[in-house]
């Protein structure tokens, strides 16, 4: 995978001394506190993805919940062949893209100024120190453009990986990313 994941598999200093691997094994047996500990260590990474892909705080919160419910359901399929963070991140992308597709079938979201203000407030709270003008420019992109730009330039996936995730031809993904970059640059000008 092209994405440079943070080292969220490492134990944190919040009193949680157990390794991710131990927590995963405990959670597989139905141990909810162990799963909560996994959530505490990984949810910020997943929520950042949900927030940027959706451009909507409320939707991102729903998506975050969906991702972790799905993770709970599929935990038995995680065999430790990759980092738990990598497995979860791919699962999150699948869930988010699937939900956004289903949502798009019913309404083409138009991002209003009010939506953007709402998102900017959420971004200010959730991403302390981030470049708000850039976050706003991303949120303002058409959905497909935002989706591929986030996966490519923020998350660091390769074009071929994004093509597989989205079911779109590599050439189309490239064209969408290029257009999105240009739109972002123009929005910042």
């Amino acid at each position: 995978m092209g994405a440079a994941l943070l080292n969220i598999d490492a134990p944190m200093s919040s009193g949680e001394s157990e390794s991710i691997e131990v927590l995963v094994e405990r959670a597989k047996t139905g141990d909810v506190p162990a799963f909560e500990a996994l959530y505490r260590r990984t949810s910020e990474r997943v929520y950042a993805l949900c927030l940027r892909l959706s451009g909507d705080r409320d939707l991102a919160t729903d998506l975050l919940q969906d991702v972790f419910v799905r993770a709970w359901q599929r935990l038995h399929t995680f065999r430790g062949e990759s980092l738990f963070a990598t497995w979860l991140h791919r699962l999150a992308i699948n869930v988010v893209l699937q939900q956004l597709r289903a949502l798009r079938r019913r309404r083409e979201r138009e991002v209003s100024a009010s939506d953007l203000d709402h998102f900017e407030r959420a971004a200010r709270q959730s991403f302390p120190g981030t470049k708000l003008d850039l976050e706003r420019a991303i949120a303002k992109l058409p959905e497909r453009a935002r989706r591929v730009l986030v996966l490519r330039d923020v998350e660091g996936y390769k074009y071929a990986e994004i093509a597989r995730m989205t079911g779109v031809a590599v050439g189309t993904v490239k064209a969408q990313v290029h257009r999105a970059r240009t739109l972002v640059r123009e929005a910042l000008a």
Binding site: E36, T61, L63, F68, Q73, R74, R105, G129, L134, R185
Partner: protein, 235 residues
């Protein structure tokens, strides 16, 4: 001297897709062209800033409580509260329905029949004239089948939305296993539909894609009809 560097070429440079000789060629131009230099600098800065955005964001504190509530109902690897998986979809739905389930079943059957009939009619038509609903504005070059599908799509969407609402409201009476099966079936069909729609956006005159879309839509309708019947059987 080469012409100005195109946007596409700039993206290729940023993606590391140019050979060293191509890159050298561009660099020679950029070295002497202030306009291209400035454009490239701005684009590079944008891409660099995107890559350095924070990768962590604090979720709302109540998010875990809701997850705990949902997963607390089933052990891992078994169906949890999958009902909420469709929440964004449900929230997007604004229409209210006045038809009863039996009425809907009848309407769904009629719509499905119309769907197939209109598609067949559209496929038989020659000359690109719309089979049904001449008010449907489609771009030139769109085939007759696509026009037929577009004409019946409004009615289809209405029936599907009504069935979805019944299923949504009846989640509480369905077994978690049943809900999971419904959700996963719908998710699979939705994915297939989304993929065909994306392909159709690039090739709107493809009759094969239109047929595939109609097939997937009928499948979705069938899943929803069965789900709505299951809800009805429990209420």
């Amino acid at each position: 001297m080469i012409s100005h560097v195109s946007e596409r070429r700039m993206h290729q440079i940023l993606d590391g897709e140019l050979s060293s000789s191509e890159l050298e060629h561009v660099e020679r131009h950029v070295a002497t062209c202030a306009s291209c230099r400035e454009r490239f600098a701005r684009m590079s800065e944008t891409v660099r800033d995107l890559g350095s955005l924070p990768k962590l964001a604090s979720p709302p504190v109540e998010a875990w409580e809701r997850i705990a509530e949902r997963i607390g109902r089933a052990p891992p690897g078994r169906p949890a509260d999958v009902a909420v998986l469709a929440l964004p979809v449900a929230r997007a739905r604004a229409r209210l329905l006045t038809l009863s389930l039996p009425q809907l079943g009848a309407v769904a059957a009629v719509v499905a029949a119309l769907w197939v009939g209109a598609l067949a009619l559209g496929l038989r038509m020659a000359g690109g004239e719309a089979a049904v609903g001449s008010e449907t504005a489609l771009p030139a070059g769109v085939g007759p089948a696509a026009r037929a599908v577009a004409a019946t799509g409004v009615e289809y969407d209405r029936v599907v939305e009504d069935l979805e609402r019944i299923v949504e409201e009846g989640r509480g009476v369905l077994a978690p296993e049943t809900l999971l099966t419904i959700e996963e079936s719908l998710a699979t069909v939705d994915l297939a539909i989304a993929e065909v729609r994306e392909a159709l956006a690039s090739d709107p005159s493809s009759e094969i894609l239109v047929r595939m879309l109609a097939t997937h839509e009928r499948t979705r309708l069938g899943v929803l009809e069965r789900a709505a019947r299951a809800v009805r059987a429990q209420t």
